[in-house]
Symmetry: C2
């Protein structure tokens, strides 16, 4: 009882109603002796507080038995009792019940009250220390696959051609970027996206690993690399047939033939299905005539188009024999060797952009440009010898989605690059805020700004989320590399992680810039450039809100529908199935439990994240079904539920992050590094619960008390991780020459 | 009863438990006839649903009497009943009670169910329409004061010197920016910050109005203008005496004498009180010796320092007669006419920054630079004829805060500029998303993307908040212009609005960029530049987290403490006073009411915002006091409560925005514009409640049902405002040449 009684007097704010409630509870207990109850009651008279000598002797006793592992008043009380006499197990159960009830009722749960009593938080924790051993253990647990390949990329990144100063005039930046991409090709990094028999790594995962490492360097170089080898080269490798492979791939891989991936049009970005460029088959000439019907159908934002691209994979509707067969890909020359546009092709420079200015984006118009039949990338559909259209996939819809499946590597790559950039930003911000001193106790020295709760809260939950995302992206790359993986599940997962990782990168960069104050605003410290370059990650390879709706659709149709089309919401069978099932009711004990052991545990957190995902899935199904049953167009129904669908997709991503990370952590050997990682993931879980606590409260999964306890635990976790923050960014193992920022160097 | 019965069958999802609950309620009613109850019960048998003919006749009857003003099933039922027979008032009361209870229990409140029944949301609302009359009425209500002055600034902004292309090489951008600032000086805009007798407008508000208008133009020009005339000129005008005014001000106003405001040091940004540059009085020579003790004490990020500044207002600790008298301001020449640094002065260029690259920021070191006694800006303290230090303000602390008071205009100016930039960004994004079409119902035409709930939710609550902030900033400028206004209240308000407006500007720009997709990423559409330039608004003139803590401190000390110092938290008297008072308990009816009339009303919203502010204030006081009473250093106590203090400051800002806006709206004559503005402010209020619904749920102010109803009302308000979004951005009256972005022009 003693720790609880001490807590009653600790802040002097207890009122008579609460005291009376304790007295009543005491009267009902059988596990205490008459004398014990009487002595306890002496502490419960507001008019006669314990003397300061009594109080300090009592707190000293609590402090002496409460080790660092003890986190609640109840446990402290038990420890104290068991330190003096032996107790029967039944006594213990009864005591825990009473004390636990009081602790909850008085709002003493959450651990903070005990820490205040035992003085665990006196003074400022040491922020500047770090253990390289722990950092190494963490690094081992989170490193990506393909270590030799990654080492090779890092060696290339250290070459002088790859280090492009900032700022540069537009033309010079583009020139330097081109030189850098050529250097990557020379180093043999150009063919990784291709199948093994075409000189590639034989593994789509290896291509992403290269991309992920390159993301630590110049991002214009990264994107131009991705356009040339991933999108342009990848489209030939995956949509073309042997004749295309033989003719083009070696020259693509060497950068002898720079090319474009011309899918997006001015009027159609995320809605690729409705692009309007046409390729009309001329059966007599055995040619296709590629044409841009109007300005809205111009190919737009096309990387490599403004200056360097000589040929483009052009997505256009194939018209043959009077029929529109849907979107297909064609190789169309756009520039002569001289650099002048090819006949019938007009090219416009998109000009300066917010970022990625090393990439020469442009607009392309085709004025009845004739290409031979062989220009069609004909793996899935072609023109036969009789001059007729023919495809192994009968439905145009199915065909379209099969071709679009080539986009999945791009999305995985952007997810991986987003994590790499977030890691770099966090490395800079954590190192700076651990060193930068400002303000401090009156009369005392200034303290590192990472001592401040507001700075900890701005950086550490993002650091934790970045860790969790790292696990999920590594697992996604493995899935991409696995030829037996279910394609639709892969596509849903890739869309979810691309959206969440790119969103997080943008938000993390902003938080890191602000945490570094004026230093963060200087170009040399990288944030300006990193922010500008990654901003478009939320838009390209599928705009995030569109991707999240596709994720929701994938979940609602149990992966039974094709991805990439938002107009096909008529999936009544799945909706009905899901709307009909009900979640089992939650356990009221879970709803109320607020002790830290419970809140910080992976089992509870994962259950809570699963509950949110499942319930949002079922309620989305019910809402959609009700509308569709009532005769509403499925488009209107989906739009009315759009916030709900996006919440569902985010909940799915949140849960995937935690379950993947916990699964990967579990089998590791015990070490300080593993222990630290477990705490990082616990902060991730806590901060998701905190962010969405309104939802949990609305759903009745949390009671207000529990919601408040979650907030308190986020604060505690931040405070306790802050002294390990340097180890956690050291574990990203980003060498100083790639960190770039003077304030973010390890050797500072 | 009929509307409710229709609703029961509308989605076909009702279960037996709910039906039984309705039957039980019917049995308890006395206002219905036996026959009426029996007929109603016929609708409540799950095994015998109403025939489709019966159902559609019933819904047609509901539709016929439910006008657009009717928003709940209860009211629709009353309208229907009263359309057929006359009823006694007592009948009405009883019926409302029963129906209201059922409506709430069944989750039919929130308006959506009725709209579904009466079919009010069929089809896509017209997004592209606009009424110029309504826009003009709105504009009249929100325009800033000083209309002639503003018109004059706009005329200057249309001059070719003020239109600086983007991007430009650093040197050229700086040169063009200098030319532009000289053009502003020539146009007579340089002296507004000075008092009337010194050639100024005689009104600090006029200076901010000029700044606010200039913020619609190039932001480097704005900031260089602010440095020269506001900070440098302002420091001479406000901290100097007649001799300084006569000698310098005319040359400052004409840009003949470009200068700097050298306060920030490398090691001390927001913590100005602890800067370490010294000015030692040499009584024999009647001079001061200005010195930089080490690199950490260099003046840093100083605008105009790298290239143009010839003299600087330098803040340094005044040492005289062996005593440190605290921070004072001195005029120190830093550059010769030739452009070379003055003897003993070394200057370094900060180089490229994320944005504002037209401003030449630099670092300055002083190596025992001697200046005459007259260099001290001696309005508040000086050296007397006997060579002794003397001040009209005895305490160094008080003196420091008096001098720091000059910062308040800067904070008001940044708040105003932030609103101007957010208005520009919203103008571009709303016009683009109202025009851009993508996706659409299967088989139907594509729809403007502003039709999508996710786009509406990204833009419209920010637009509403921008409106509310506009009212609050206009009121703040009036307060600044009022010589009788309480200074401490002014300072707290300025800190709160600077922090919230700059935060909102950064977030709004990001949301607007993303809503514009790839177009938003092109430099010509302005977002990249606007984002980069305004990013530092959250940092300079006081970092936002620091300012928010100052606001909390101001509120906790009831404006009794000086601003600008975070180490002085020992304000036990105020804390005790506040911790002792209790809020009156909330009304349980309010906790549960979920009808739209209630939720969208200003009275309820303002009460809810006040409740949050008051309760956070009291709980912060309690938490701080408990810690300080327990012997914790006030620094540690404030740090442990930092998230709470920042929440308090934000809650204060949220409330000020709403109360100012409602107060200013109320006296206006009724018009469509006023009606539209009221709906905008209602969305602002709703979205604040939605953002903080977890807090309201934890506090017991909302029940889960109410929280969900708030979300539903935000969706509804977004849907209903979307067709007026163009009017709302037209009302900002930003001419196309200042909008700049091709996709954001009105004339598109």
């Amino acid at each position: 009882m003693l720790p609880l009684l001490c807590a009653v007097w600790a802040d002097g704010l207890i009122d008579e109603v609460e005291l009376e409630s304790i007295r009543r509870t005491l009267d009902g207990t059988e596990w205490m002796t008459q004398e014990g109850r009487a002595r306890a009651k002496e502490w419960l008279d507001r008019t006669r507080p314990p003397s300061s000598a009594t109080y300090s002797a009592a707190t000293a006793a609590v402090r002496a038995t409460a080790g660092t592992g003890v986190v609640t008043l109840t446990r402290a009380g038990l420890a104290l009792a068991e330190a003096t006499t032996t107790r029967a197990p039944s006594w213990r159960t009864a005591a825990v019940a009473t004390l636990g009830k009081l602790e909850m009722e008085l709002g003493f749960s959450g651990g903070e009250v005990l820490r205040e009593l035992v003085g665990a938080y006196g003074g400022v924790p040491a922020i500047g220390a770090r253990s390289s051993g722990t950092a190494r253990q963490v690094a081992q647990a989170v490193r990506g696959d393909y270590p030799e390949l990654r080492a090779r990329v890092r060696a290339v990144l250290s070459q002088p051609e790859l280090r492009i100063p900032d700022p540069l005039p537009l033309a010079e930046q583009r020139e330097r970027t081109l030189v850098a991409v050529k250097a990557l090709a020379e180093a043999g990094l150009g063919a990784f996206a291709f199948p093994e028999e075409l000189g590639g790594a034989g593994d789509a995962g290896a291509g992403v690993a290269v991309f992920e490492e390159l993301a630590l360097g110049d991002l214009s170089v990264l994107v131009k690399y991705g356009v040339q080898f991933g999108l342009f080269g990848g489209s030939i490798a995956q949509l073309g047939t042997e004749k295309h492979h033989r003719r083009y791939l070696a020259r693509v891989a060497s950068m002898e033939l720079p090319g474009c991936y011309a899918m997006t049009e001015t009027g159609h970005g995320s809605n690729v299905r409705d692009i309007r460029t046409v390729a009309t088959h001329d059966a007599a000439a055995r040619e296709f005539v590629v044409a841009t019907p109007d300005d809205d159908a111009r190919k737009d934002y096309i990387g490599n188009a403004a200056l360097d691209g000589r040929i483009a994979t052009v997505f256009a509707r194939l018209l043959a024999g009077g029929t529109d067969h849907g979107v297909h890909a064609f190789l169309v020359p756009i520039r002569e060797r001289s650099g002048a546009p090819a006949p019938g092709v007009s090219i416009e420079d998109c000009g300066a952009k917010e970022g990625l200015n090393g990439v020469d984006n442009g607009r392309i118009r085709f004025d009845a440009v004739r290409v031979p039949e062989g220009a069609l990338l004909d793996r899935f559909a072609g023109i036969n010898d009789a001059g007729e259209y023919e495809s192994s996939i009968p439905s145009p819809g199915r065909r379209f989605f099969t071709m679009l499946g080539t986009l999945v590597s791009g999305r995985v790559s952007i997810a991986a690059a987003s994590v790499a950039v977030a890691r770099k930003a966090l490395t800079i911000a954590v190192r700076y805020t651990a060193a930068r001193r400002q303000f401090g106790p009156a009369g005392g020295a200034e303290v590192p700004v990472l001592t401040y709760l507001s700075v900890q809260r701005a950086l550490l939950p993002r650091l934790a989320r970045c860790y969790a995302t790292g696990f999920a992206v590594r697992a996604l790359i493995r899935r991409l590399a696995d030829p037996d993986a279910d394609r639709r599940r892969l596509e849903v997962r890739a869309a979810a992680l691309k959206a969440t990782a790119s969103r997080d990168a943008v938000n993390t960069l902003q938080a890191c810039r602000e945490a570094c104050g004026g230093q963060g605003y200087l170009a040399e410290n990288q944030f300006g450039r990193l922010k500008a370059d990654t901003d478009v990650f939320t838009t390209f390879e599928g705009a995030n809100p569109v991707l999240l709706q596709l994720v929701a659709k994938g979940l609602l149709s149990r992966y039974g529908r094709d991805m990439g089309d938002l107009s096909m919401w008529g999936m009544a069978r799945y909706l009905a199935e899901m709307a009909g099932t009900r979640l089992t009711d939650m356990n009221p004990v879970v709803t109320r439990r607020t002790d830290p052991d419970h809140l910080v545990g992976g089992a509870f957190q994962l259950a809570a994240l699963r509950y949110r995902e499942d319930r949002l899935l079922r309620s989305a199904a019910r809402r959609l079904k009700a509308r569709i049953d009532a005769g509403m167009d499925s488009f209107d129904a989906a739009n009315e539920c759009q916030d709900h669908l996006i919440a569902l997709a985010s909940a799915h991503a949140d849960r995937v992050l935690l379950s993947t990370a916990l699964r990967d952590l579990e089998p590791l050997a015990e070490s300080k590094g593993k222990e630290l990682l477990a705490r990082v993931l616990s902060l991730y879980g806590l901060s998701v619960l905190e962010t969405h606590r309104a939802w949990y409260l609305e759903a009745g999964y949390f009671e207000p008390m529990k919601s408040e306890a979650v907030r308190a635990e986020v604060n505690r976790a931040c405070r306790e991780l802050a002294p390990h923050a340097l180890e956690l960014v050291d574990a990203f193992e980003i060498p100083d020459y790639l960190v770039g920022a003077p304030v973010g160097r390890k050797s500072v």
